[in-house]
């Protein structure tokens, strides 16, 4: 089977190079047959990658330990589910999974757009095939996941690390990959537009949905990573500005910027160079993120190992991307000039431009800070690391400014806002902000960043509610329907706009959760059975320690009772698990989840003889709103992504009275 796998990868590489060449030559000569054969080859790549993936999964399922990769990431007793997901558990398999996803997305994008964007398709195929060739080259020459042992086949494999045998960890990487890989499609269309010179705004329509889709999965992947860190690790936080986390966030910033600035180009034909640049930079950052986590160029606790050869290959590829992409941008500059100027700084366009600058700055700041140790070592010879507070000091004001703009953007009109406009639009949101600020102050919160964050959340919420309220009222008046139908119809008629506002609600909830972190309380202590301690409003009593074994692991569990104001509210069971196959124990955190705050209990250590336990208690206010915020964001993105017909029941509903009137007139 390993032979078949290796052969398939090699064959895919060959077919891929044919797809790229045939498309380009076909497009240049105007040969439809050649272009079609290129597209056919492109779909064949998808078929080959699907079979290769099936071979890989089959190897895991049949315990084919002659393949090194399988022996490394699986063993006989591994549950079926983790056997399948071990496919993307390591470096080589993750690269193969990357190509597999890219081939599927590529095929779908090419198939869906083959008629409408006929002139772009050959170059879309060539660009995607070029990217695939790079990763296939890595696999064929450097890291084949199908490498077999030269020595006799081991009887059993090593097994996937138990810490990674967690459902969040299973869906987190593929989700992140879907996001990262998905960004290749907008890039391919952008490049095709640049190469062919078809730089009207049509290519944007082809990529808008793809960007939104990839962006949603990128957000999902990042959120899952946070949930996993919060639930599985013992530090009670969710984001530590680790290089690997940052790598995923970089393209997220630029993609978010693009999703906003694309509207300016559609409405006003401005920012044309900027948009194509953002698409290129986003794609570049996805490759850069892969490079950072796989080549060992930055020191991270959990990057893949150091691999100078891989680092070189990636560096060459990234230089090629930048030179070719920006080479075409420069060549097409005359076609990319804006058709309108900015009329006023008090306009939606200006707010979007400000939002873009800040998002882009965030990306470059995080990139700079992440690469700083490597850069400083290259320049001064001393490796200087950047501590977490430095990130927070910078990103907190940046985040608050973005939050502010989230509220301002929707209130401003296109082109220019008059004073009357401003007063009409800003009055209620500003009043909400002042009201929330006053309440926060009167409640005695004295952390100014958090206080400001709460007030701004009020401002943005005011903006969004006002937009829905006024929009629905106007529609109610126009259609004569009831208020709720008017609201649904409003959203249905402007799915991107109102879906976007719902995404903003998600962002507000996310910021609420982050602001709550300022009020985090933490304590570490030792308790004997029957003793209790108080943190914040909770009193926690340690009852007993028990040891159990389920065959796979020994579990040491502390039984705790939580009281709130003297009333028993919950029982918590933090534990330490000792897997028989692994030397290292895992910590099982116990969490009491509430909307207002979480009580997070960690069993740090125990003394079996005296039954004494050392514990860490954390109260994490508002943290669950971060996850809820993501759910709301996903709903909003889903609405924006819905096809046109989805709301027809509400958008087409016309009141009975009006129908009659019309009948009377015409009869």
């Amino acid at each position: 089977m390993a032979g078949l796998g290796s052969f398939l990868l090699l064959a895919t590489f060959v077919v891929c190079s044919y797809a790229a060449t045939a498309s380009v030559v076909g497009a240049r000569r105007g040969s439809r047959a050649l272009i079609d054969s290129g597209i056919g080859a492109f779909h064949l790549v998808t078929a080959f990658m699907t079979v290769a993936s099936a071979v890989m999964i089959n190897a895991f399922l049949t315990n084919d330990f002659s393949i090194k990769y399988v022996a490394h990431y699986s063993d006989r007793i591994q549950p079926l589910f983790y056997k399948i997901t071990a496919y993307w558990g390591g470096l080589d398999g993750s690269i193969m999974f990357w190509v597999f996803l890219l081939s599927i997305f590529g095929s779908i994008a090419v198939h869906v757009n083959r008629i409408q964007y006929r002139e772009l398709i050959p170059y879309v195929v060539a660009t995607i095939a070029g990217v695939q060739m790079f990763f296939l080259y890595l696999m064929v020459v450097h890291n084949s996941p199908f490498t077999t042992f030269l020595t006799p086949t081991p009887a059993d494999g090593n097994g996937l690390n138990p810490v990674l045998q967690n459902y969040w960890m299973v869906i987190h990487p593929p989700s992140l990959y879907v996001g990262l890989v998905g960004m290749t499609i907008p890039y391919a269309f952008g490049m095709a537009a640049l190469i062919t010179g078809h730089l009207d705004d049509a290519w944007l329509r082809a990529v808008r949905r793809w960007t939104m889709f990839a962006w949603l999965f990128l957000s999902f992947g990042l959120t899952l990573g946070m949930i996993w860190a919060y639930e599985e690790l013992e530090w009670g936080g969710f984001w530590g500005w680790d290089p690997v986390e940052n790598a995923g966030a970089l393209p997220w910033f630029t993609a978010t910027a693009f999703l906003h600035s694309v509207m300016v180009q559609e409405r006003r034909s401005m920012l044309r160079i900027w948009n194509v640049t953002l698409v290129i930079v986003t794609f570049f950052l996805t490759i850069f993120a892969t490079f950072m986590t796989r080549s060992g160029v930055v020191q991270s606790v959990h990057a893949f190992g150091e691999d100078p050869e891989l680092a070189r290959a990636f560096t060459v590829f990234m230089v090629v991307i930048l030179v070719v992409s920006f080479g075409f941008v420069i060549r097409r500059l005359p076609l990319l000039s804006a058709r309108n100027d900015l009329d006023s700084w008090i306009s939606k366009e200006a707010a979007f431009i400000a939002n873009n600058w800040i998002l882009l700055f965030s990306a470059f700041f995080v990139l700079f800070a992440t690469m700083f140790p490597t850069l400083s070592e290259a320049v001064t010879g001393n490796r200087l690391s950047i501590a977490t507070p430095f990130y927070n000091r910078w990103m907190a004001p940046i985040g608050l400014t973005l939050l502010f703009l989230t509220g301002v953007g929707p209130l401003l009109g296109w082109r220019k806002s008059t004073i009357w406009n401003l007063r009409h639009q800003f009055m209620w949101p500003v009043l909400t902000m002042v009201g929330v600020g006053a309440v926060v102050l009167s409640m005695g919160f004295r952390v100014w960043t958090a206080g400001l964050c709460f007030a701004l959340c009020g401002f943005v919420t005011g903006t969004i509610v006002q937009e829905f309220w006024r929009g629905a009222n106007v529609r109610k008046g126009a259609t004569g329907s009831d208020w709720f139908t008017a609201l649904v119809g409003l959203v249905g008629r402007n799915k991107r706009r109102y879906g976007g506002y719902i995404v903003h609600v998600g962002a507000v909830l996310f910021f609420l959760g982050c602001a709550g972190q300022s009020f985090k309380q933490r304590t570490e202590l030792l308790l004997k059975p029957g003793e209790q301690t108080t943190l914040g409003k909770f009193t926690v009593r340690y009852d007993s320690l028990s040891v159990t074994d389920d065959g796979q692991k020994q579990m040491v569990t502390a039984a705790m009772t939580a009281f709130d104001g003297g009333r028993e509210v919950d029982r918590l069971y933090p534990a330490k698990w000792f897997f028989h196959k692994q030397a290292q124990p895992t910590t099982e955190v116990a969490i009491r989840r509430m909307l207002a705050e979480d009580l997070h209990v960690v069993l740090v250590n125990f003394d079996a003889a005296t039954q004494t336990v050392s514990l860490q208690l954390v109260i994490n206010p508002l943290v669950n709103w971060i996850w809820i915020g993501f759910a709301v964001l996903a709903i909003g993105t889903g609405i924006a992504l819905l096809p046109e017909r989805a709301y027809s029941f509400a958008t087409e509903k016309v009141s009975v009275a009006r129908t009659r009137t019309r009948k009377t007139v015409y009869s």
């Binding site: 490394h72 993307w88 558990g89 390591g90 993750s94 090593n158 690390n161 810490v163 990674l164 960890m169 987190h172 990487p173 990959y177 860190a229 690790l233 013992e234 530090w235 936080g237 969710f238 984001w239 530590g240 500005w241 680790d242 690997v244 986390e245 986590t293 020191q299 991270s300 606790v301 959990h302 990057a303 893949f304 190992g305 700055f361 140790p373 400083s376 001393n382 490796r383 200087l384 690391s385 950047i386 501590a387 977490t388 507070p389 430095f390 927070n392 000091r393 910078w394 972190q517 030792l526 692994q582 030397a583 290292q584 124990p585 895992t586 960690v602 740090v604 250590n605 003394d607 860490q616």
Partner: protein
């Protein structure tokens, strides 16, 4: 018209870039820590004493001691044959054990303990700050997927 607007954009860009570069530079002064291996620091300990450091090395097997019923730890860290004593008070990650590859955040201090102490060949001690231990174990390092384990980054977020 085109020229003036280009000039304006250019000027704005330059001013903003300079302002941010200035801010970045000033805030960097207090925000960075030297990343050093044990042997680099112990080659001239006096030079590094009291500075904010991230110290990289491997935990000497059998050296981790915990004061009973407390969160106080003593251990030794080794790199390229050079060893330093280290102290820590707080919670250690699961990955912190014998042979672990770790990065400690903290400062090198002169150890006040008199001669004839229990262990440690030199008179310097690395005082690790709270949540300052980041550890990875070799097996996990190998096995951690792309998914990466945020396995021990114990900084406050």
């Amino acid at each position: 018209m085109m020229k003036t607007s280009l000039l304006k954009v250019g000027m704005t860009f330059i001013v903003l870039t300079l302002a941010f570069a200035g801010l970045l530079w000033t805030s960097l002064q207090g925000g960075t820590e030297y990343f050093k291996h044990v042997d680099e620091v112990m080659a001239s300990p006096a030079q590094w004493e009291g500075r904010a450091l991230q110290l990289h090395g491997f935990v000497v097997p059998g050296s981790i001691l915990r004061k009973p019923n407390s969160f106080e730890y003593r251990f030794r860290l080794e790199h390229n044959g050079s060893v330093v004593d280290a102290s820590y008070e707080g919670i250690v990650p699961d990955t912190f054990k014998d042979h672990s590859e770790v990065v400690l955040s903290g400062r090198l201090v002169e150890d006040a303990r008199p001669e004839g102490r229990a262990y440690g060949p030199n008179s310097y001690r690395f005082h690790t700050k709270r949540d300052g231990i980041m550890a990875k174990c070799p097996s996990k390092y190998e096995q951690a997927g792309p998914a990466k384990a945020r396995l021990a980054s114990r900084q406050e977020s």
